[in-house]
Assembly symmetry: C2
Homo-oligomer: 94 residues x 2
């Protein structure tokens, strides 16, 4: 199992636009083989911080996800409204 | 439900020390009322990045966690070996 935390700081007046784009991405991604968890979160103090927390069966399923039509189409659209981002891929220690 | 992502970049030669401290923290925290998930992750590319991904029933249970004996004792010890850290408290959007 691998865990992914994709954190984005979006442009303030585009929060709702980005959330709408992510809704489609979440719905399509959850149908993928190997997707265990794919959830969008918003920071309590700073609503411009939108973070996807993901769980995948293995690296192969994550790689396949990043080649799907919905990923390749939606992620660059979201990117237009992202000021800063970080992506971490993790394995579980405990 | 609230989600917490506590990301720490630790000093390179202290990774195992910190992981050992976190083991005790994880074991004690999972017994707390209101703790749904409390898991330690290590970045695949940069092993100095150690991140706790947490799920709590509500803000009250998270606040109580931060006053427990194990939290108050262990977190400052870990802090001695942390070069950078970030803490985000999230609510779920989707």
């Amino acid at each position: 199992m691998i865990k992914v935390v994709a954190k984005n700081k979006v442009i303030e007046d585009q929060i709702e636009t980005v959330i709408g784009m992510y809704e489609e991405l979440v719905n399509a991604t959850r149908k993928e083989v190997g997707c265990i968890v794919y959830e969008l979160y918003q920071d309590e103090k700073d609503p411009t911080v939108l973070t996807m927390i993901e769980e995948w069966e293995d690296k192969a399923s994550l790689d396949a996800h990043m080649k799907t039509e919905h990923f390749v189409r939606i992620v660059p659209l979201v990117g237009k409204f992202v000021a800063e981002s970080s992506l971490n891929i993790y394995h579980k220690v405990y």
